[in-house]
């Protein structure tokens, strides 16, 4: 499974998201390849991904992609990420 974590610059929030999503997927026993990307390259990367993780503000900027776009509000909240990701991977 391919997942893209998206933020504006590709160095901060997307890296945090990637880290926490990896933790959650490990718990879920899901084998996934998570890529952190900035909004510019994310539109391309999202074409081939199954899930896109991002924030409320950036979700509309990703536009129309085949991937399921999941909005995370608190990037530190593993419970939130767990809940949203487990619903999506099942």
């Amino acid at each position: 499974m391919k997942i893209v974590a998206v933020c504006g610059m590709g160095i901060g929030t997307s890296v945090l998201l990637k880290m926490n999503a990896e933790k959650v997927l490990q718990d879920l026993g899901v084998d996934a390849d998570i890529e952190a990307a900035d909004i510019g390259v994310a539109r391309g990367a999202a074409q081939t991904a199954e899930i896109v993780l991002t924030s409320q503000e950036l979700a509309p900027e990703i536009g129309d992609v085949p991937a399921e776009v999941i909005v995370i509000e608190n990037f530190f909240d593993l419970d939130e990420i767990h809940k949203k990701l487990s619903a999506a991977v099942r």
């Binding site: 901060g12 924030s55 909240d77």
Partner: protein, 152 residues
């Protein structure tokens, strides 16, 4: 947690009074500049990032991770810490108001991952977080971070 964030922070400021988010981000930028991490251009880029993409840098309740793209304005990787005397609004739907701004500068997309991991580890612990919010001096922040980094 192996990495001691206290050693990674180029500047720490507590009880900083600002009137809006731009001032708060500027303060975090000034900390990076003072630490020899970035040039002043980087501060403008961090503000422009929010103007362009919205307040997505408010990554958790009360916490903004101010940053811009790796560029010529970044001399080395680094972090600054600004805790605010009174929280300010960034315009974020669920995570406003912000009481802690962390300024982040990175040379590339991977070098600072361990630092971010440490930031996430510390701030996702509610007890540590509330101690840090209550810290009245940079020394106190430093010792809390050092304590959080060393296993008991």
């Amino acid at each position: 947690m192996a990495l001691n964030l206290a050693e990674e922070l180029s500047s720490i400021a507590t009880n900083v009074a600002v009137s809006d988010w731009r001032q708060a981000v500027r303060y975090a930028g000034d900390g990076l500049v003072a630490g020899g991490v970035t040039t002043e251009d980087y501060t403008d880029q961090m503000i422009a990032a929010v103007e362009e993409h919205g307040p997505y840098i408010v990554i958790a309740p009360g916490v903004a991770l101010a940053h811009a793209r790796p560029s010529e304005s970044v001399k080395k990787g680094g972090l600054s810490w600004v805790s605010l005397a009174s929280p300010v609004e960034f315009g974020h739907k669920s995570n406003d108001p912000v009481s802690l701004v962390i300024g982040l500068a990175a040379l590339d997309h991977t070098a600072h991952i361990e630092v971010l991991r440490a930031v996430a580890g510390i701030l996702s612990n509610p007890a540590t977080r509330s101690d840090l919010d209550a810290a009245a001096s940079p020394e106190e922040v430093r010792s809390l971070l050092a304590r959080a980094a060393s296993p008991k």
